[in-house]
Amino acid sequence: MGKRVLVIEDEPNIIEAIKFFLSRDGWEVFTHSNGHDALEAVDRRAPDLLILDVMLPGRSGYEILRELRAQERWAKLPVLILTARGQTKDREMAAAAGASRFMTKPFSNTDILEAVRELAEA
């Protein structure tokens, strides 16, 4: 059984695409599509890696990330922030919230794949 990755993203097509190439790389992919109960989803799925969108219905990705980092259990969880907003300001906010990686949409599938691999090995 491969490692578990949770993708929190509200755009179904993007979820589908990520699920496609990550599962082919041997990941067990779970998805969640809103911010409201994102923390519960993390607790339930207990992923080895989290891919997190920022503009989510209900709560922002940064908010979710900050609360995750506050929990000892998820303090070291590798988290890849994936957002359509790529300004410096957003990058800084991601870092401040405790993101392990920051990538902007649209992305290259191989880049995501490499980033996920690196985060998993680290």
Partner: protein
């Protein structure tokens, strides 16, 4: 050489010496080196003209007759100098500020420059002073005769006596003319005269002290013996008459202020206000020394000299009787000095008044103002002044000849004092009471002068002038009008009686008439200047020395020019004056040349009039004329106007700045909004692009994609491309609508048909899960509008219902209704749960999505709808019903019925 000739020689030498002193002083003053002439000591000594021959000889006689009462004559001025110092200071300040030339001028100036008043005071002064001048002539003659008698030389007969008086009178007139009218100084200062008087003051004091010392130590044998003799004499048993004592003290105090000659030396000749400070202690000191030996001389005179000897001449006859010729000559010189100095100054003062207030006005009237050339007037003034001096002295001489000089010296002096004292109420009132008026002053003076003449002066002349009958029974037998018992008050000393009534009624009349009359504008102005002179002039500091003046100028200049500039200017001026380099901080001599330059320098900053006024204030201590004040006011007004304009401009600037700030804030807000909008657009564009890229990479890079997956992924790419295109279309549409660049295609049509088209178009776009129910108005509704745009709105609303209606079997009810005001209403009500309360305000904003569900729209639809409806003259609103989403479109049936476009969404029920 016999003793009388020696005396004449000594006198001649002495007179020549006085001429020399006056000449030298005048020359020094002319050359501007007269600082020593203006010393406080000279000023104090010049005040000693208060001590005339009456005080020199008469005090001893007074003491011999009336005991210590003579002290009142010294007490009055002492009280004035020490206790009334503030009155003096104000008097001097006013005198200098108004360039007053005499006491008549002062009173006239105070009450609106009334010449009538000046004439009145002049007459009063002449009448009051003439006997006094006669008295001086008499004392000289008398003392000369006594001297001649005592040394056993042939005494001059009556004719010789008269000629002595004549010679003396002529000599004094000559001296006064020579040194009193050398030039027409604007401020009437006579350095030569003052200097000569100061010398005479010293001579008379030393002479009297010499006689006193001789009497006490030479004759009496020491202080204790003298005191014992005094106790033994009748002076020792003298009883004080309180009323008389007070009246005399008051009189002499008043005289000190009002006597024309005192006013001349105290106010007119005053070079510096600060001199008063010295005089206030030095002059009482002088008087004290003058009175020190009066009683011993009187006592010794009574004791040693034969019964019947004139006590008024003890000062002279006592040394003579004891064989002390030299001392006697010295004593004679003292008396001579007292007499001459008084006559000179009195003649000068009176002549100024007579000339200025009587001769000149008459002459000007006579010539009809033809003499407009100043040199001409100057010549006339000098001539009239000279004639006046001669006239005044001649008057005194004639008076002396007429009365024969019988009355005791002291009594003439007191009558004279009481006469001039009548000016006191008006003078003090004028200085301290702004309500005093010209008519009040005239009335008060007339009453006082009249009463004095009636109750004191005329009776004092003896029975020849006033019939004994009137004195005893009153005029026409009216008892209460008896001159020495007015209003039935008897038993008073005649002097006290006269002083009491005349001054009391004088002051009362002055006061009541002043209250009852109104001052003219000029009187008001002058009154204010007199009463407020101390405030106007600022500090009462003295500028006695040139250095102090320069320093004050420097201080002022620094305030106006700035310290470094002022310092540089002053140093440069000092350098110019000395002709060589000066040390830093050196001050120039404040000479006219420098002052002019300073004024020019200052006028650059404060205006010419102000500069002149400021410099004049410091240098002259002089007043600023009304015209100068007006000029200053003008300048000030200009500056105020200028600063007002500046203020208005700065207000305008502030307003402009505020507007700019507002505009800037608006721009900043817009910029923030624009950033947010762009950021939104970026997000909305990136999302479909992300899917497109991701799936195209999958299709490109993955070998084993199943055909089914291939189809699915291709259609995702297709759908997202369509979404992207629609988003771009919407953005462009919105941009065009918002900029108002949209071209409407207005045509006639039917609402029902438009809705039919929209419903079928919406159905074509997605799955047909939504049931559309129609409730059309009975009659067809004709519209005149842009049907393409309206259809766009309808499609959007129907599509929204399909996307967001959360009912199990979604339904949309479309109702049309024509309104009475030419409007048409179309309601879109679904059966879902409606839009959450907190989102209702947002749905018409760009990129706002009420629903969390991904519905494919960019969130621009309702924004576009609102823009379109506004362009069509209608509106689209969300109606908050209890449940269900309820949109209402309102639009005018015809273009003519269009409402003005609304700027903001308005929720109506």
């Amino acid at each position: 050489m016999n003793t009388v000739n020696l005396l004449i020689l000594v006198c001649t030498v002495y007179v020549a010496l006085l001429f020399l002193v006056a000449f030298v002083a005048e020359r020094s003053a002319m050359r501007g080196r007269g600082r020593w002439l203006r010393s406080p000591m000279v000023y104090t000594l010049s005040l000693s003209i208060y001590c005339t021959a009456w005080t020199f000889y008469g005090a001893v006689g007074y003491a011999a007759r009336s005991g210590l009462e003579y002290i009142t004559i010294y007490l009055g001025p002492t009280i004035v100098m020490i206790g009334w110092w503030w009155v003096l200071r104000k008097l001097v300040r006013v005198g200098r500020a108004q360039r007053v030339t005499s006491i008549a001028d002062l009173i006239s100036a105070r009450f609106g420059k009334s010449n009538l008043l000046a004439v009145g005071v002049t007459i009063l002064a002449v009448v009051g002073t003439t006997p006094y001048i006669a008295l001086q002539l008499q004392s000289v003659t008398l003392s000369f005769a006594s001297f001649a008698d005592a040394v056993g030389q042939p005494g001059p007969g009556d004719g010789a006596r008269a000629s002595t008086a004549l010679w003396v009178a002529m000599g004094l007139a000559l001296f006064t003319v020579l040194f009193g009218t050398r030039n027409l100084d604007a401020n009437e200062r006579h350095h030569g005269v003052v200097m000569a008087i100061a010398v005479e003051a010293v001579v008379k004091l030393v002479a009297l002290l010499a006689v006193g010392v001789f009497v006490v130590w030479g004759l009496s044998g020491g202080v204790n013996e003298t005191l014992a003799r005094i106790d033994a004499s009748k002076i020792g048993n003298w009883q004080m008459d309180g009323g008389r004592w007070a009246a005399l003290t008051f009189l002499s105090a008043a005289a000190c202020l009002c006597l024309p000659r005192m006013f001349q030396v105290m106010v007119v000749e005053n070079a510096d206000e600060a001199h008063l400070r010295t005089a206030s202690w030095a002059f009482p000191g002088y008087l004290l020394l003058m009175s020190l030996f009066v009683v011993p001389i009187a006592v010794m005179g009574l004791e040693r000299l034969p019964e019947g000897a004139n006590p008024d001449l003890f000062v002279l006859t006592l040394p003579l009787a004891e064989g002390q010729t030299a001392l006697a000559i010295f004593s004679f010189l003292g008396g001579f000095s007292s007499a001459t100095s008084m006559v000179i100054v009195a003649a000068l003062a009176l002549a100024t008044m007579v000339s200025n207030h009587m001769v000149m006005p008459l002459w000007l009237r006579w010539t009809g103002g033809r003499a407009s050339v100043s040199g001409d007037v100057r010549h006339v003034v000098l001539l009239s002044r000279r004639i006046s001096i001669a006239g005044v002295v001649a008057l005194g001489y004639v008076y002396y000849r007429t009365t024969g000089g019988g009355a005791a010296l002291a009594s003439i002096g007191l009558v004279s004092f009481a006469g001039v004292a009548q000016v006191l109420p008006v003078m003090i009132g004028g200085l301290y009471w702004r309500g005093a008026t010209r008519l009040g002053a005239l009335a008060g003076l007339s009453v006082g002068f009249g009463l004095w003449g009636y109750a004191l002066f005329l009776p004092s002349l003896g029975g020849g002038i006033m019939p004994q009958d009137i004195l005893a029974n009153g005029p026409l037998g009216i008892a209460w009008l008896r001159p020495q018992a007015l209003f039935g008050i008897e038993g008073l000393d005649p002097l006290v009686h006269a002083v009491l009534w005349s001054l009391l009624l004088n002051a009362l009349t002055f006061f009541t008439v002043s209250l009852a009359t109104f001052p003219t504008p000029l009187e008001r102005l002058q009154g204010a200047q007199f009463v407020n002179v101390l405030n106007q002039a600022g500090s009462a500091r003295s500028w006695s020395a040139g250095a102090a003046q320069a320093e004050d100028l420097m201080v002022m200049a620094q305030r106006i020019l700035g310290a470094p500039e002022a310092q540089a200017f002053f140093e440069q001026e000092a350098e110019r004056q000395s002709g060589r380099a000066v040390r830093p901080g050196a001050l120039p001599e404040p000479n006219p040349d420098f002052l002019q330059r300073l004024e020019r320098e200052l006028s650059g900053s404060v205006g010419a009039a102000t500069a002149h006024a400021m410099v004049a204030q410091i240098v002259g201590g002089a007043s600023v004329s009304v015209r100068e004040l007006l000029a200053v006011a003008d300048e000030t007004a200009q500056m105020i106007e200028y600063s007002d304009r500046l203020e208005a401009q700065s207000k305008e600037l502030a307003a402009t700045a505020a507007k700019l700030r507002e505009a800037n804030d608006k721009l900043t807000r817009l910029s923030v909004q624009k950033d947010a909008f762009l950021s939104q657009i970026s997000h909305e564009l990136r999302t479909p692009m992300t899917s497109i890229r991701a799936f195209s990479e999958i299709l490109r890079d993955t070998a084993d994609v199943s055909p089914e997956e291939q189809r699915k992924y291709s259609s995702i790419i297709h759908d997202e491309s369509v979404r992207l295109t629609r988003l771009l279309d919407d953005l462009l549409d919105l941009s065009v609508l918002e900029n108002g660049q949209v071209n409407l295609n207005i045509r006639q049509g039917d609402l029902r048909e438009a809705l039919d088209k929209a419903v079928s178009a919406a159905a074509a776009e997605g799955d047909a899960g939504l049931r559309v129910l129609r409730e059309d108005a009975a009659a067809p509704i004709r519209l005149e509008t842009d049907f393409d745009r309206l259809g766009q709105v309808f499609i959007n609303l129907i599509a929204n219902a399909r996307k967001y209606c959360d009912a199990a079997a979604p339904e949309l009810r479309i109702t049309t209704r024509p309104l009475s005001d030419g409007q048409v209403q179309v309601d879109f009500v679904d059966n879902g749960s409606g839009i959450p309360l907190e989102a209702r305000d947002l749905i018409f904003e760009k990129f706002a999505r009420a629903s969390p569900q991904r519905a494919g729209g960019a969130g621009l639809g309702l924004s576009i709808c609102r823009q379109i409806m506004e362009r069509l003259g209608g509106a689209v609103d969300y109606l908050p019903s209890e449940r269900n989403a309820h949109f209402r479109v309102t639009l005018p049936a015809t273009a003519a019925a269009a409402r003005p476009a609304r700027g903001k969404p308005k929720l109506t029920n």
